[in-house]
Amino acid sequence: MGSQGGFGQSKEFLDLIKSIGEARSKAEEDRIVLREIETLKARLSDPNTPKFKLKEYLIRLLYVEMLGHDASFGYIHAVKMTHDDNLLLKRTGYLTVTLFLNEDHDLIILIVNTIQKDLKSDNYLVVCAALNAVCRLINEETIPAVLPQVVELLGHQKEAVRKKAVMALHRFSQRSPGSVSHLLSNFRKRLCDNDPGVMGATLCPLFDLITLDVDKYKDLVVSFVNILKQVAERRLPKSYDYHQMPAPFIQIKLLKILAVLGSGDKKASEQMYTILGDIMRKGDSTSNIGNAILYECICCVSSLHPNAKLLEAAADAISKFLKSDSHNLKYLGIAALSRLIKISPDIAEQHQLAVIDCLEDPDDTLKRKTFELLYKMTKSSNVEVIVDRMIEYMISISDNHYKTEIASRCVELAEQFAPSNQWFIQTMNKVFEHAGDLVNAKVAHNLMRLIAEGFGEDDDTADSQLRSSAVESYLRIMGEPKLPSAFLQVICWVLGEYGTADGKYSASYITGKLCDVAEAHSADDTVKAYAVTALLKIYSFEIAAGRTVDILSECQSLIEELLASNSTDLQQRAYELQAILNVDAHAVEKIMPINSTCDDIEIDKNLAFLDGYVQQSLENGAEPYIPESERSGMLSISSFMTHEDHEPSTHTLRFEAYELPKPSLPPNAPPSSTELVPVTELSYVADIFQPTTSLPSASDSAASELKLRLDGVQKKWGRAHLLLPCPTHHFKQRHCEDSK
């Protein structure tokens, strides 16, 4: 029983543990911890604390931080403890340092030295402790300090050391690949190490390296297959068994590696079929770990070049997973299906019922996994069903991050597989209604573009039908509360472009609706902008068609409000609207043609159409334009820019002393004060203030030495003044009188 004592824990520690365990509320817990912090601060600052006590205090500090409080006042003690010779204390020191600090912390510098020393220790347990620390605390800058020693330790006689040295090298290659690129052959060597622990550890860095550069390691396929064979045939020591499976975690790592090596490579894949088949056949589907291995086999099979027998075995295993009562196994079944879909697309259909069950299960994790599968399974024949389900699910999600993901998936599938325009718009509407502000703005623009372009067909009737139905549905929806801004923008745009196109709705009706929207969302400038531009379009179309424009009173007040808006964008739109109202039909048609969203606007950067106007103005005596670069005498922005370019691009501390101030020239003007006593008698004053050495100066004026500028300063403190009457004299007299 290890619940009490052992290693001389103090009563204080036991009490701390108990009270933390029994705390009934966060407030109580905080009180206990704050009290503990005060105690520890006092104890740690006592220099006479015995070392084993110090160890206990460090552990207590760990508790303080685990419960969410800052313990940085004690970090230095953890650092100090790493210097200790006692193994347990040293290792505790390293442990607490790795838990408190991170690789970029300032205190790490203090530890590097200790680590270096310990890596050279005769006691291999000390070396191990140092290697643990290396894997947590060494960063790119400190790698060179320990690299040579670590490389040497790869050949240490103790397997525990070799194993950890491999991981240290792994860490270096993660932090700074360049620093170890010449040492990668060490990983290949350790793969052949006698000790299975070292071999097993080496699989981790090898996996990373293989993922980065597959071709370099294809030659190892045979080795990996061999190792896997030996492991599966129980040639490793029994201590690696777990629940009767031989070294299952090593098997899984090997399977992952083989999957990467065999992907897209028929020859490599063929070398793996036998061992995979064996493992799957002998697999134990009654234990979790056995199923974990089976699952990993299926994942491997799905990335290899297809093999009929293996695929059949995989399908069987999946069936068993899906039929199981265990949700974990169902989850794996769905995940496995997702992987196999690419190679054998029909496999999902065999299990349709099971998949639907998972979809309807209240277990959120399972549902999500199933939706991932559905996403991969979607084709034009089932897109409607799948997307409808997905939208239903999306509506129920409260986590925005996940909602966005699902919404984007729905949009993707709709764009890719939509069976009809009608369905597409309906679907997009639903997505917008419930997740409009979460999807990428591009989606809204895509939708608008699609409605404008009419899906690329030249069938005008179909296009206008589509637009009419869009208008219809938007008019229905737009009154609903809490519509996302992006959706409202689309609605305003559609109504502006096509609201009056089919003649079903009058301009008054549409403009009235637009004003309602703008009013209901008066805080949203973007929606208001879309609304007022839509109004502009509608009025333009009315004018162009020769009808008189009847502006509703609410539209009038909206326009007036926007004319005075803080937003210049809204102001501009409102002014443009006003201007349009006063233009004749012919001009309006040119400015705002009907149905011309897809027409390109030609831009003439030289503003050539203004040449006539400019010419006329010049003839009337206007000043010609002078480009900025030719203007003189003014500080222009361009000169600021070049000035900045001349400054060094890096801001560094300046190490040269500033130049001494230049000596000042004596003023030409005579001193203005009339109360001055002549300077000449007080020669000692000049002695005190003049420096004995003369300093170099740029100017050759008479006053070339540095001295205080005494010109114009009343010199009243000289000896001569002590006998002169001065205003203070009266004060002194008075003062003396008072003290009598």
Partner: protein, 143 residues
């Protein structure tokens, strides 16, 4: 590859052991631990032992009052990690004899030492209970 953190948190949300393989500061940890435990508490026994969290996954297993939570990248084999948790518990069990939450609280550094032997750089590197515990035992004897 692999493991982002290993946590042992009780159902009141008190953290008993926290090992992060990617650095997070104290506030971030507190927030993360609270979030995950809440998520796991709302799940029933029958449901999956895996939960999606942010852009990675958390594999969890409950032993009496203590949740073992392991955060893993999406490529990890979830069931294998679930069994890794059990291997960790079995290892502690062999050392402490019928391990319970109090054992971990009173011997926090030992629990950490065991985990240190098993996971480095976020990868599982030692799964032989003999090898894991021999390091601990040797150290105890040497001190």
């Amino acid at each position: 590859m692999g493991i982002r953190f290993v946590l042992m948190v009780n159902k009141q949300g008190q953290t008993r052991l926290a090992q992060y393989y990617e650095y997070l500061n104290v506030e971030e940890r507190r927030a993360l631990e609270g979030e995950i435990v809440r998520k796991c508490l709302t799940r029933t026994q029958q449901q999956c032992s895996f939960v999606e969290h942010r852009n990675y996954k958390v594999v969890y297993r409950r032993y009496a009052s203590l949740f073992f939570l392991v955060g893993v990248d999406n490529e990890e084999n979830e069931l294998a990690i679930l069994e890794f948790i059990h291997l960790l518990v079995e290892t502690m069990d062999r050392h402490f004899g019928n391990v319970c939450e109090l054992d971990i609280m009173f011997h926090l550094e030992k629990a950490h030492f065991m985990l240190e032997e098993m996971v480095m750089n976020g990868c599982i590197i030692e799964t032989s209970k003999t090898n894991i515990l021999s390091q601990i035992q040797l150290m105890e004897r040497a001190s």
